[in-house]
């Protein structure tokens, strides 16, 4: 595993010793070397290829309840010692001490196997995917007026050492592809988007056909040309397979993060062991899911990813934990300590969050719905964890009339209250699917997350349309 050595273990040990000198109780160094490539085709032209490199280290020193943090792009001994000194300045202890850090026991985690490293693929092959997607849509005889396609890959190597003797590392490789289309009709323009992304290398494009991605985006836009204004008010909402992950991510995922629980900034604080959802709801956060967008071998504090059951048969079983909250509660981290980059402090974050499948037939769930809406694709969302109120966007949705899918409806938001929505889930089908790759934002930091759900129905949600 020479690949995960960015800085020598000897130097890491020396830097940790110097970080602990002014009396901290814990010190950690997080070293990251990230290379990324993106290529964009828009308006028929390959506009640009962009290569980026970000390399540096973040050092934190904990003393009591206080964390000092500094980061640097200078990975020389001098640069790291300077950052260690800055981070330790917040630890306001008077006693100087020397702590020897033993990093002889390196832990090699279960690093994802990659078949084709993106950096070893010709740029022309990446550009060819864009052109193919563009041409396949433009040649399909659809009323599509604009196509934008984006290819992206990232190669993130990290190395983590701390004063408790941990030395470990990971290599995380992600590949993604997305297409956005504009369709034009008599009533104006509509948009459609489809994206795929996995924690794999260029072999992603052996499994998925970019022309199929483009076709889905185009169909979404074209379908919406006939859309009617969304209804307004409370009604049953059926969410299609793979589509509902954002709903759970917002309705309760964030509210189950231990940092928010600890500050009483979540409606789910103090609810462990209680029935918080309909009895057939089982919600899991699983960083180990091979290939998924939120997958990693170790989190950004060096703890192995794990599969954590958050809600089991409607009962809240556990929260998600990072090192700091876990330490305070005398337990181990659940592998949910993540950060956007070496420039950020870690905090509790989701990985791949999903609702387990149920027994019902998806078609019957729709047939059993007299009037409501069916959401095939959700957009982003947002939640206030302290009140539980959350919104999420719908980017492909239809009316349900007399148990049948009817007219497509225009884009908009839905709003609900997390604890209420969990109790209002009255049907879960067996057609589980993972959704689109997402970027979860919290406190200014974005991290890749995955989600999934089978078809499900919430018996009452407020649809924020304009039709009355």
């Amino acid at each position: 595993m020479t690949e995960i050595q960015i800085v020598s273990s000897d130097l890491l040990g020396e830097v940790l010793s110097s970080a602990m000198k002014s009396g901290g109780s814990f010190a950690e160094i997080f070293v990251e070397d990230r290379r990324s490539t993106s290529a964009v085709l828009d308006d028929g032209l390959v506009e640009e290829l962009n290569n980026g490199r970000d390399r540096g280290a973040g050092i934190r020193v904990v003393s009591g309840e206080t964390t000092g943090f500094a980061h640097t792009a200078d990975l020389s001994a001098a640069g790291l010692h300077k950052a260690a000194e800055a981070a330790s300045s917040a630890a306001r202890s008077n006693s100087e001490s020397f702590v020897e850090i033993d990093l002889s026991n390196e832990i090699i985690p279960n690093i994802s196997e990659i078949e084709i490293l993106p950096k070893e693929v010709q740029k022309s092959a990446k550009v060819a995917l864009l052109k193919s997607a563009d041409e396949s849509v433009r040649g399909a005889g659809l009323p599509i007026t604009q196509v934008a396609a984006r290819y992206g890959d990232s190669h993130r190597v990290l190395q983590i050492a701390n004063s408790e003797g941990l030395l470990t590392g990971d290599r995380q490789i992600r590949s993604s592809f997305s297409v956005s289309c504009v369709a034009a009709g008599d009533a104006g323009m509509q948009t459609g988007r489809e994206s795929v992304g996995q924690t794999v290398g260029f072999e992603l494009f052996e499994d998925i056909d970019v022309n199929e991605v483009a076709r889905k985006a185009a169909e979404r836009a074209v379908t919406k040309l006939d859309s009617v204004p969304a209804p307004s008010g409370e009604m049953p909402v059926v969410v299609g397979p793979g589509g509902g992950g954002v709903l759970f991510h917002e309705a309760c995922g964030h509210g189950l993060e231990a940092d928010l629980i600890e500050k009483s900034a979540s409606v789910f604080a103090g609810k462990q062991g209680e029935l918080v959802a309909a009895p057939d709801v089982t919600l899991v956060d699983d960083g180990t899911m091979v290939g998924e967008w939120g997958r990693f071998a170790i989190d950004d504090e060096g703890n192995p990813a794990s599969k954590n059951v958050l809600i089991k048969d409607g009962v809240l079983t556990d929260y998600m934990w990072d090192w700091q909250r876990a330490r305070k509660h005398g337990r181990v981290s659940s592998g949910n300590g993540r950060r956007q980059s070496y420039r950020h402090l870690p905090m509790v974050r989701m990985t791949n969050t999903f609702l387990e499948g149920g027994n019902e037939d998806p078609q019957e769930i729709i047939e059993d719905t007299e009037y409501g809406i069916y959401v095939a694709q959700l957009g982003g969302g947002q939640v206030n964890t302290a009140t539980g109120d959350f919104v999420f966007g719908m980017t492909e949705a239809y009316l349900i009339e007399n148990g049948k899918l009817a007219a497509p409806i225009r884009d908009g938001n839905l709003i609900g209250n997390g604890p209420q929505v969990l109790l209002d889930i009255d049907a879960i089908a067996g057609d589980f699917a993972m959704g689109s790759p997402g970027t979860c934002g919290k406190d200014g930091q974005g991290v890749p997350v995955g989600d999934g759900t089978p078809t499900l129905r919430v018996k009452r949600l407020t649809v924020g349309g304009t039709a009355t």
């Binding site: 962009n50 540096g56 943090f69 323009m189 982003g380 302290a386 966007g393 649809v463």
Partner: protein, 447 residues
């Protein structure tokens, strides 16, 4: 440091061959962030970061690369990646870097040494005091989620082989507090902030009181019924809507067939009381800047005047493609190529006080916060619906708090439905200013 950054940018552009154009953008930031929690320092972050982005144009093909470091061997690698990337792009006759256009920069005072001259312990005190002050505002304030002081000094420079040279240095600092209010088992949240170029401009009491007020006023809130009615947007909310309206007025959106205002220049697109200006030369805007992302002087651009659409915003590429001139509206970071967008938009204020505007409404809602604006707005079709919170307006008076509802319309319709612009104008920590707006009709979706 500024001189050093421009020297680095010039060094990179000096490596250009005769048949290529090179642009280098170099940035350096220093920041401090202090978070207080329950009377202790929760975290103290002290950080410096640098970055460089290099754009190469050769035979009409553009390539780009960036790195988060300014080490000299990395500069060569970034340039070589950008050159290599250019060879894979499609040729585009409109590609090319900015050239000096003779427009003089307005001189702006956006750096103050206040941030550099106060000690870290003073910064820590700000965060601790803010928490204490906020807790003391109201007995229903049950906790503080976070109380922060942050500051940043940013320097940047840009040089091109086509003769562009510009550099800047700016400072900023802020106080930010998030509160929890509790009564009868119900929790509500609020936030308050104060921003400035220098710590002495910060108003801690305002931050504390706003956060407390935002949280406590929502206690006892209920969900309104669905109906169409008059809605008033407060400055915090209207500023966010102006950002969205502004995003539809980029020439890039127009040229690529994604703007709902395509072919509408010279037409009435908004109520006659709407005049929208993007003016990054206005020193009151926290996003004020002397030069844009391509090194051209920024300027005052009147986008909508008395309801009539006057112009779109351009960078160098959109200007060439549209046979027009750049409006100094290139926006970017060191890690991206220039886009086009608003930098500091505001509405021309109206003549009446917000209180008088509310006094004239029999039945309506004052919207004080919106959520999910990004997931709920489609800037291409114009459809929007967003989560909202606010206060009922009954017979000209503010009454009970309302939450868990959405407001919806289309961007096109809402611009025409604005019946009043207040005489207030507040610059906020975003690229827009807010004014109180009365919208004749929006759809409220609730119970």
């Amino acid at each position: 440091m500024s001189t050093e950054l421009i020297e680095i940018a010039e060094l990179v552009t000096s490596w250009s061959d005769s048949d290529e154009q090179i642009e280098a953008v170099v940035t350096s930031d220093r920041e401090t962030e202090v978070r207080a929690y329950e009377g202790e320092i929760e975290s103290l972050t002290v950080a410096e970061s640098q970055g460089i982005g290099v754009r190469v144009v050769k035979d009409g093909r553009q390539g780009f690369a960036y790195a988060g470091t300014l080490e000299e061997n990395e500069l060569l690698e970034v340039l070589s990646e950008a050159r290599d990337n250019a060879s894979f792009a499609s040729p585009d006759e409109f590609s090319g870097l900015a050239e000096p256009d003779g427009v003089e920069c307005v001189s702006l005072e956006v750096y103050s040494d206040g941030v550099d001259s106060i000690s870290t312990s003073k910064k820590i005190d700000y965060a601790l005091e803010l928490e204490k002050l906020t807790l003391a505002t109201d007995k229903r304030i049950s906790g503080i989620e976070s109380s922060e002081y942050t500051d940043v000094v940013s320097e940047s420079a840009i040089a091109t082989s086509t003769g562009i040279r510009a550099s800047s240095k700016e400072s900023g600092c802020s106080l930010m507090v998030y509160t929890l209010a509790e009564e009868k088992g119900e929790t509500q949240t609020g936030f308050g902030f104060s921003i400035g170029r220098s710590p002495e401009e910060l108003d801690m009491e305002k931050a504390a009181n706003d956060a407390s007020d935002r949280a406590t006023r929502m206690l006892g809130s209920t969900k309104p019924k669905s109906e169409r009615l008059t809605v008033v947007l407060d400055p915090w909310v209207s500023a966010q809507f102006l950002q969205i309206v502004g995003s539809t007025l980029s020439a890039e959106m127009v040229l690529k067939g994604r703007s709902l205002f395509t072919d509408r220049l010279g037409e009435k697109v908004a109520s006659p009381i709407i005049s929208l200006v993007d003016d990054p030369t206005n020193p009151r805007a926290f996003t004020a800047t002397e030069t844009d992302g391509e090194g051209l002087a920024t300027r005052r651009n009147v986008l909508i005047e008395n309801g009539e659409l006057k112009m779109f915003l351009h960078n160098v590429w959109t200007a060439r493609k549209a046979a027009s001139t750049s409006t100094g509206s290139a926006i970017r970071s060191y890690a991206s190529t220039p886009g086009v967008g608003i930098q500091a938009v505001s509405l021309r204020p109206g003549g009446r006080d917000p209180v008088d505007l509310i006094a004239g409404i029999d039945n309506g809602i004052l919207i004080q916060s919106v959520t999910g604006l990004h997931s709920g707005v489609n800037p291409v079709s114009g459809d929007f619906s967003t989560g909202a919170e606010g206060l009922r307006i009954s017979d000209g008076e503010l009454s009970e708090p309302l939450r868990e509802f959405t407001i919806g319309s289309t961007i096109q319709k809402m611009l025409k439905d604005v019946s009043e612009v207040g005489n207030d104008l507040e610059w906020l920590p975003m690229n827009s200013a807010g004014s109180t707006l009365v919208i004749n009709e929006l759809t409220v979706s609730g119970a």
